[in-house]
Structures are given as structure tokens and as C-alpha cells.
């Protein structure tokens, strides 16, 4: 996909999103769902960049999200740091964790990376619940209940004045997604394409796989940490239940529905899936079952997601070469 198409796609998606409050701005329930769409769009995009674009098969993105959320909340509650600063600091903390996890992972082969990152996810819950978590102020099994909202120049962005908060989060989310877009289309992005197509050849040209993969670990975990912090301050409560498999599976569905490795797809996927998931809420406990089944179905039946269909319709040439490969010898 070309940069211009990508930008247009993101612009249209976020533009429609920005116009929706005109219609539903006075229904807090729907506005909350829209905020969720914006937040998951960033997490899903980061995960998609790691898996589909950089080819690092990680299952730790939810863990990074939780680290970011908890980091920012703990800084704000226990250390009295203004939420805005706390969010940025927690972005750096999460990026540091990402590098820490990335360092051993990058020496490993496919399933081992998946396993180590999944292990991070599994180990985080007992850590936050146990004595270590209590010592750093995670609130243990009860979680954190009194997270202050984001405040800028004395104005508090809480869920009671939802419309300004919505636009603030829209801006943050858009900034994160644009950062990802420019990363994909920059020199880095080309390096990843080269590494993915032929790692040996790319390395012989002087592209360091290790350096670039570590950088993508750092950048995606930074963005995930930032949006995690925003989530915590928006909701005001956090608990380790976020690490249950529900969130994990729903994010997976978002990426797959959008199209794995077709970047803006994850944004569209998260908008569609959050809406779809709300429509499925009458299913109750069966919703999670359906989500799991949906992952299986999407992997089997719709390998390129919604974006695949869209690309086929947009450009016959691009559909022959899925986005992210050298089409006609040029990188666009």
C-alpha cells in the first residue's frame, strides 16, 4: 500500500470517528465504546506491526499494555506525579521493558519468541497480585481504584465531560497511528521488508537485524505503554483481570479481521470488532467462546482480513503481492 493510500485510509477512518459525536455525543454509553475503539486501535496496530510487519511473533502486547497502564497509575497515585508526565514516563518504562524482553527474544527462533512473550504475559498476573506487586503499589488482587484523570492547564478530562476527553484521546490515538505509519514507510520500514524477504541477503547489505528488531520492540512498546497509561487515567480503575484471556482474544480478532500485516487494517479491524463485540453482548458468557471460534475461522477462511478484500478491490497489482513485499521491484 502506498503512503498516500495509507494516509487517506487512516484519515477517512479517524475523520468518520471524529464526526460521530455529532450524532451520538449525548449517549455516554456509546461514547465510551468509541473511546475503546480508539485505544484498541493503537494496541492492535502495534501488535500487528510486530507480528505482521517485523515478523516477530510476540504474544506479549497485552502484557506491555498492562505494564503501561499500571506504571502510569502507580506513578500518579504513589508518587503524586501529574498524569500527563506519568503517562510519558510510563511509556519509557514500557519501552525499557520491551527492550528487556526483546534482548533475549531476538536470539531465538519463532515458537520460542512466542513462548517467552506469552510467559511474560502469564507471569505478570501473579507478580502484580503478589507481594512484589504490593510493594510497588499495584494494589494486589483488588487492583487500583483511585487513578486521577488526565488534567491539562487545570482542565480535567474525565468520563463525565466525555466529548472533550474523546477528542483528546482521538488526537493521542491518531498521533500513535501516524507514528506507526511513518515508521513503516521510512528507511526503517524498508529495512524490515528486506529482512522479512531475505534475512541473509539483507544482512549482507549491512542491515543489522538485531538493531532494527530491537528498535521496533522499543517503539511499539513505547506506544503501547502510552496508550495503556491513557486507558488507566480514563477509566480510573485497573485490575489484573485485564490479563485474562478475554482481552487477548479480542485483540487477536481485531488484527485478524483487519488483516495481519496489512497495517491500517488493524485500525479498521478494531473499530469493527469493538462495535461487533458490543452487538454480541446479548450472548453473555458465550461471547468469549464466539471470539475464540472467530479467530479459528478468520485464520482459515479470511487470511488477509477486511484489508485483503479492500486491496483486491482497490488495486489488482497490489493484491497479487500482499502489502509489505517488493512489488514490481520498487518500494513505495
Amino acid at each position: 500500500m502506498h503512503l498516500r493510500q495509507m494516509a487517506a485510509f487512516i484519515g477517512i477512518s479517524y475523520g468518520i470517528m471524529a464526526l460521530l459525536p455529532i450524532l451520538v455525543g449525548d449517549i455516554p454509553f456509546i461514547m465510551n465504546i468509541l473511546v475503546m475503539c480508539l485505544i484498541w486501535a493503537v494496541v492492535a496496530s502495534c501488535w500487528d506491526v510486530m507480528m505482521g510487519f517485523a515478523g516477530i511473533f510476540t504474544f506479549g502486547q497485552v502484557a506491555f499494555f498492562v505494564i503501561g497502564a499500571y506504571g502510569s497509575a502507580i506513578l500518579a497515585i504513589s508518587h503524586n506525579i501529574t498524569p500527563v508526565i506519568a503517562i510519558i514516563l510510563s511509556g519509557f518504562i514500557t519501552a525499557g521493558m520491551g527492550v528487556l524482553v526483546g534482548l533475549p527474544c531476538l536470539r531465538l527462533a519463532g515458537p520460542y519468541v512466542a513462548l517467552v512473550t506469552f510467559g511474560v504475559h502469564m507471569a505478570l498476573q501473579p507478580l502484580l497480585k503478589g507481594e512484589i506487586g504490593l510493594a510497588i503499589g499495584s494494589g494486589g488482587a483488588a487492583g487500583l481504584l483511585t487513578i486521577p484523570p488526565i488534567s491539562l492547564f487545570g482542565y480535567e478530562f474525565t468520563s463525565s465531560n466525555i466529548i472533550p476527553t474523546f477528542y483528546l484521546i482521538l488526537l493521542i490515538s491518531l498521533a500513535c497511528v501516524l507514528a506507526i505509519m511513518f515508521m513503516i514507510k521510512s528507511h526503517w520500514g524498508n529495512a524490515f521488508l528486506a529482512l522479512k524477504d531475505s534475512e541473509d541477503f539483507a544482512m549482507s547489505l549491512g542491515i543489522s537485524a538485531f538493531k532494527y528488531k530491537l528498535m521496533v520492540f522499543a517503539v511499539t512498546s513505547f506506544l503501547t505503554g502510552i496508550i495503556g497509561g491513557v486507558y488507566g487515567h480514563f477509566y480510573g480503575v485497573l485490575s489484573v483481570r485485564m490479563l485474562d484471556l478475554d482481552l487477548f482474544s479480542i485483540l487477536m480478532v481485531m488484527i485478524l479481521a483487519g488483516g495481519l500485516g496489512h497495517f491500517p487494517g488493524a485500525v479498521l479491524g478494531s473499530f469493527l470488532v469493538v462495535a461487533g463485540s458490543e452487538l454480541m453482548s446479548p450472548l453473555g458468557a458465550y461471547r468469549a467462546v464466539t471470539m475464540g471460534a472467530l479467530v479459528v475461522f478468520l485464520v482459515l477462511a479470511l487470511p488477509d482480513g477486511v484489508m485483503g478484500i479492500f486491496l483486491k478491490w482497490l488495486n489488482k497489482d497490489d493484491s497479487a503481492n500482499p502489502a509489505g513485499s517488493f512489488s514490481n521491484g520498487t518500494i513505495t
Partner: protein
């Protein structure tokens, strides 16, 4: 010679050791199934732990439905193990093998099996409820040797899983199917040329690994309860044993399983059960950094 406290501590430690050994034997069985399926089909199965629970739930349903009077656990094994084989076989044939045509099939399979894991975990929760289920002990009573006390249950678990491992090893080395499986693991293209039906071997391998982990599930659920959401933790455990022992090394897997079983029992005894997974994770990271090929695995 020893004070009263020291003697008590020694007895307690011997209990922990026995628990570690009987858990370790089941871990060995599970790790073997995992090595097998990854070594032969190169498909990483994230739903592995949920097949463990599937074995437990099938057995539980039989016991609730029939009771133990019809031959007890022998009947359960005769009924449940073929069922697990069928489930595993169908899973491979209909869900996993269609993906092999794609270029990035290894990643696709991981995603698919993860989706399957989410599906099964949530299905168990909806169908059987979040409450833990327990299975009756396979054999009641205790064996006293001097001052030490062994429960027959632990001994049976140990013997049955070791028996399963030996039977598996024998099949792999001495039957035509076993040889075909090894041939596919060594060289899929070569195996195809000499007329081995690779698709069937893949499906059979997957099914056998399902049976092994389900068998482990029936054995271990008698001690640890059936927990619908434990699938992920069990999968990680089996994989850590496999990685620690060395991919593709049966002997390494056995040694690693016992080390990990005992380590986990002691960590649980000293720090509390929830620290088990953290200890496992540290062990995994340590192994991968210091000796990536595992205890007895061959280097790349």
C-alpha cells in the same frame, strides 16, 4: 541424633519430593507429546494445555454419568483415549493441514491453535462452570515403608505415566508406523518419495500427542483438580520442560520433567503455589540464554 523439628522437616520434604516425582512423571509424558508433534509436523500447538483439560473433563463426565462400578479407571481409559485420538486427528485434518499450503503457515498455525485454546477454555467455562472439578483417586490407601508414607495414588500415577512413555518409545522404535513417523521427522520430502502418506502421519502424530496430554490430564487431575482456565499455564509448563530438556531428546525430556516437577513442588512449598510459574519462567529464560539447545539437545 536429630531434634524432633529436623525429623518433621525431613518427612515434610520427602512428601514434597514424592509429589514432585509423581507430577514430574506426568510432565515427562506431556513434554514427550509436545516434542513429538513439534519435531514431526513443525506445528506449534497452543491449545496443548486445553487438551489436558479435555482428558480431565471427559473422564469427569464418564464418572458422573456412569460411576466407577464398571471397571473404574480401566473403562475410562478405554473410552476416553480413543475419543481424544479422534478429536486430535480431526483437528489436524480439518483445521491445521489446510494452512500448510500458505507461505507463513507456521505463524498461521500458532494463531489458529491460540484461537482454539481461547475457544476451548471459554467453552469449558460455559459448559462446566468456573468451579474446579475433582476426579476420585485411581487407587485409595497408603503404603508405609518404615517411617515413610507413600499414597498408592502417587505410585499409580508414576507407574502409569512411565508405562505410557515406555510404550511410546517402543512403538516409535519397533513398529512400521513408528519408523514412518521418524522418517517424516528426519526428512519429509524423502519420506514422501518412499511412499509414506505424510498427511496421515501428521494427523496421527497430532492425535497421539493429544492422547498423551489427555492421559496426563486424567492422571494429574486426580491430584490438582480440573481448572478450565489452566490450559495456558499447562502448555507453558510442557513447553518449558521440552525446551529445558532439549528439543527432540526423549532422555533430556525425562530428566528435565523430573527436575522441574521437583523444583515446582519445592517452590510451591516454600513460597506458595502462584510462584511456580514465575520460577518456571526464570528457568526458561536462563536455559535459553545459557544453553539454548537445552540440557541434552543437539546444537544447531
Amino acid at each position: 541424633m536429630f531434634s524432633e523439628d529436623t525429623v518433621l522437616l525431613l518427612y515434610e520434604m520427602s512428601d514434597v519430593l514424592i509429589a514432585g516425582l509423581s507430577n514430574g512423571s506426568v510432565y515427562a509424558l506431556m513434554a514427550l507429546g509436545m516434542t513429538l508433534v513439534y519435531g514431526v509436523t513443525k506445528a506449534f500447538n497452543f491449545a496443548y494445555g486445553d487438551f489436558f483439560n479435555m482428558g480431565g473433563y471427559f473422564a469427569w463426565m464418564l464418572i458422573i454419568g456412569l460411576g466407577l462400578q464398571f471397571g473404574g479407571y480401566v473403562t475410562i481409559f478405554i473410552v476416553v483415549l480413543p475419543m481424544l485420538f479422534g478429536v486430535g486427528y480431526a483437528m489436524e485434518k480439518f483445521l491445521i493441514s489446510p494452512l500448510r499450503k500458505r507461505a507463513d503457515w507456521e505463524n498461521r498455525i500458532m494463531m489458529l491453535t491460540l484461537g482454539l485454546a481461547l475457544f476451548l477454555t471459554n467453552l469449558y467455562m460455559v459448559v462446566f462452570g468456573v468451579k474446579l472439578k475433582s476426579l476420585p483417586a485411581i487407587l485409595d490407601g497408603i503404603l508405609e515403608v518404615g517411617e515413610f508414607v507413600f499414597s498408592y495414588q502417587d505410585i499409580m500415577i508414576f507407574c502409569l505415566s512411565l508405562g505410557g512413555i515406555l510404550l511410546f518409545g517402543w512403538t516409535l522404535n519397533n513398529t512400521r508406523t513408528g519408523m514412518a513417523v521418524r522418517a517424516v521427522a528426519q526428512n519429509p520430502a524423502g519420506a514422501k518419495i518412499v511412499g509414506i502418506n505424510i498427511g496421515r502421519i501428521f494427523a496421527a502424530t497430532f492425535a497421539i500427542s493429544t492422547v498423551m496430554v489427555g492421559f496426563g490430564g486424567i492422571l494429574l487431575s486426580q491430584k490438582l483438580f480440573i481448572n478450565p482456565s489452566s490450559g495456558g499455564a499447562i502448555m507453558v509448563k510442557a513447553w518449558v520442560v521440552t525446551a529445558f530438556g532439549g528439543m527432540g531428546s526423549i532422555r533430556g525430556g525425562l530428566v528435565a520433567a523430573f527436575i522441574i516437577g521437583i523444583m515446582e513442588a519445592f517452590v510451591g512449598w516454600i513460597f506458595g503455589m502462584s510462584y511456580g510459574i514465575i520460577a518456571l519462567f526464570i528457568l526458561l529464560l536462563g536455559t535459553l540464554i545459557i544453553r539454548p539447545q537445552g540440557l541434552m539437545g543437539k546444537g544447531e
